[in-house]
Symmetry: C2
């Protein structure tokens, strides 16, 4: 395959998994920061004639974007035949409309920045809200794969008799996708949110699932407040301490502690964002998408 993978700092492990599955070259990039805060980027291998795929998870995006865009721009200048982005976590997908006058629609503005730099994009479980597909936001070929099967496989191997629980209505489709291959039941809770951090959750009647181990699942664990409120609601109904499986380990602002305080027994995430809770490999569906985007030659 004419493609090469190039991991931005912190993304080496995911790129290694991908590289193994794709059997393609791994290119190096040096990123450092001058004392004044400016970023220095150097491609360590010649991208001429290559399909170069940069691997960069875009959690905490502002700190990462310049290095990524500099690397992509340089690859193009140096004759890469194509420049792609593998962003296991994408970021900036929440603010997808102007809720108040004058607000920046950052999902569209961010997408436009990426569109200018890359020819294609693969991400895992994009956190789309009001949009249905990445094609509504991106001009380039943008493929949204799911780690639901990988999450289901982990649950199947670790949790006997699981009850799959989505912590809010938005997670319904996702909880169903995880439950299906397990042949397990799934329910979703109802979230009432006020402000960025405060969350209240209402549980549906759960008597018929008594005896099962609840597993809270979601695409993203951000502040963790929704997950924590859902866990508390389950414990209050007399269930065993729930497990919690998320794809994207954003874990902003003390999220991990909040989950533990709420009685969550075990917290696992995929390797889309490097974190101590990583236990699920999300690279397989990404590799499959890349194989379709860049046919072997």
């Amino acid at each position: 395959m004419n493609a090469a993978l190039c991991a931005l700092p912190g993304n080496e492990a995911f790129a290694a998994q991908l590289g193994q599955q794709l059997g393609c070259a791994r290119f190096g990039v040096e990123v450092r920061h001058f004392p004044d805060g400016e970023t220095y980027v150097r491609l360590l291998d010649d991208p001429a004639g290559r399909q170069l795929a940069f691997v960069c998870s875009l959690n905490d995006p502002d700190a990462k974007l310049q290095a990524l865009l500099f690397a992509a721009g340089t690859a193009r200048e140096l004759g890469a035949s194509g420049v792609g982005l593998v962003a296991p976590y994408l970021g900036y997908m929440r603010q997808d409309r102007r809720f108040k006058d004058g607000e920046a629609v950052t999902s569209a503005l961010f997408a436009a920045q990426l569109d200018r730099a890359f020819d294609w994009l693969v991400t895992v479980d994009a956190h789309l809200h009001r949009r249905k597909a990445l094609a509504e936001i991106f001009a380039m070929r943008a493929v949204d794969v799911t780690a639901a099967a990988a999450v289901a496989a982990w649950i199947g191997s670790q949790v006997p008799q699981p009850l799959i629980v989505g912590p809010d209505r938005e997670s319904e489709r996702w909880a169903a996708a995880v439950a299906a291959p397990l042949g397990a039941p799934h329910v979703v809770m109802a979230k009432v949110r006020s402000g960025d951090r405060e969350v209240r959750v209402e549980a549906p009647p759960l008597e018929r699932w008594r005896g099962r181990t609840p597993v809270l699942v979601d695409d993203i664990i951000s502040t963790g407040r929704t997950m924590a409120a859902a866990a508390s609601a389950l414990v209050a109904q007399g269930f065993a301490a729930p497990a919690c499986a998320g794809v994207h380990a954003v874990f902003a602002g003390g999220a991990l502690q909040a989950l533990r305080d709420a009685g969550v027994r075990r917290i696992v995430t995929s390797n889309s964002i490097v974190h101590e809770t990583n236990a699920i490999d999300a690279s397989e569906p990404v590799a499959a998408a890349i194989r379709e985007l860049i046919p072997q030659n």
Copy 2:
């Protein structure tokens, strides 16, 4: 004037000076960060039909650029008749060629990002190295004004019998521009640099200027190592403790302490970057440039 100024956080003081000189409206922008590190931007006034000039000094640029680009993109979406950038300090002007294979030419890539977002740019004493003018880097109208007259005025009012000293050959033209209106002599030292931080400086023969107070001047004080080495060389030659006047107070990595340790008596900078050493107002030449870019109507 149909124009309005909009200061990104931290740039309010400079924008206030500018606004006073231009007699134009001041628009507000809200910038905050979500717990996961993503940036939220909201324009607080309607930019429709306005020439909107964002004021944002671009030291520590990676941390500031997303908010700035989101604000500019939103102004355009909401019908601003023009979107300009006042960046008293510009940033990313140093890496203006590929010194080693594969290096990102960040001055060009950064300029391209700004070109897409803005119609015009005004900056103060751009730190150009091998380039002669901003027009070689930017596609938009980009005006580089100098604060040399403002620096000279400060020296004239504070330092009797000054000897203007440029700390390296690159500062020659700048030292000359400061010395001219004062009718003062100027000299430049010779810098030998190794690595990002280590610096050695050689002084020319200075006997004929004995009795004068040396004032080290430069466009930018970054790590301060060059300035500090120059100050030490002057003190070693028996001169009075030098003063130090710079335009851009970047002051990376303990620069201020390094200068004080080298025997610098007084350190002043312009307000292009907010810093405790600010004593010189650089807004006047910026206001003049904006008046030419946006004729009153």
